[in-house]
Symmetry: C2
Subunit: 207 residues, 2 copies
């Protein structure tokens, strides 16, 4: 789409050598692996293939790159986790959710675990902004799952008196735990069993 002849004319100065999204993905991977404190600007310049002034001009300081990386993770990989929630039947929606989570945290497409569950809590202990960011992301996921469970309750797939707020937090909790376990080296098969247990616990099936 950048080669669209009808798009805006090229800007004035020397053209950028980097692609914003590609560079941010590289930064994401680095923070995801090494955490915030374990990532240096030399690590970032190497991974992003940008020199320091370019990074500062494009993103701000190190904190801002980390924040942008978290947002990128949520908008891309996190969003993929939530996609299966649109499945018509609740059991399949939750099973698909966990399937995508397990696929995302077991290292096939990136580092082990999830950048939110594995690196943000470490920063949240001393940084109020990190704590707020963590709370916001958790609330976002809880909210998305809560909406799906409320719909399931309306559809009669859950008891009318089910506390869907707590159930939604239970589903998210399974995801957080799987992320930490994957970071420790848990196998896909093991996490799959755990996922079935969580699905059964929420839908009420006897697992």
């Amino acid at each position: 789409m950048s080669t669209d002849p009808g798009s805006l004319p090229r800007p004035r100065g020397r053209p950028r050598k980097f692609d914003h999204a590609t560079a941010l993905d590289a930064a994401l991977r680095t923070f995801w692996t090494r955490g915030y404190g374990g990532t240096s600007l030399d690590d970032l310049t190497a991974a992003m293939k940008m020199n320091r002034p370019s990074i500062y001009a494009a993103f701000g300081n190190k904190d801002a790159v980390y924040a942008a990386a978290i947002e990128r993770y949520v908008a891309t990989i996190g969003a993929r986790y939530l996609e299966p929630l649109q499945e018509p039947r609740l059991t399949e929606a939750l099973t698909g959710f966990y399937r995508n989570v397990i696929d995302g945290v077991t290292g096939r497409h990136g580092p082990l675990g999830c950048i939110v569950a594995c690196t943000l809590p470490a920063e949240a202990g001393a940084s109020a902004s990190a704590r707020r960011r963590l709370a916001r992301v958790l609330a976002q996921i809880d909210g998305a799952i809560h909406a799906r469970l409320a719909a399931a309750r309306t559809a009669g797939e859950l008891p009318a008196d089910a506390d869907v707020r707590v159930l939604a937090q239970t589903v998210t909790s399974g995801m957080l735990a799987m992320s930490v376990r994957a970071r420790a080296g848990a196998t896909r098969a093991n996490l799959g069993k755990l996922a079935r247990r969580f699905v059964a616990a929420v839908t009420g099936a006897t697992g």
Copy 2:
């Protein structure tokens, strides 16, 4: 007990100014709050009230202090979490487990969350030893709960075909998630509801 007249004679040189356990507790609190990468040796000297050479003589390097702090956490606070598992009835055992977890992670006796769930995963992404340490602690907790669930199954409190291995991982998963949620500011009341849901999910009660 250090004033016991029958104890060993005082060692030869200048007496130590610090108490080992007290200094380690101070280091634990610091790592727990700020994470490994966020804690500097200046932070440690200030918290432990020891100068650098004394820290190095007593513990080794920064990594060794962190490792000792994790072990101290597991042996003291972590052990307290597991104590209620000795309750005769499974529901009370698990309820007590989560009660102690919530008490431990919501900041009344220390920083928010748990040093294992909130700081170790960040290091585990780039450090094989941290990953092994994380895996070992998780296996330890899973194992303790597994033993309790196996006993409950024998006692008829769980179905004979219950997969107590996965159920144990489910219980631990609840703890991990509560730790991360507490780090983000979750209230005791909220975590209490979540705990009841986890207990019900494992014991089979309809929650």
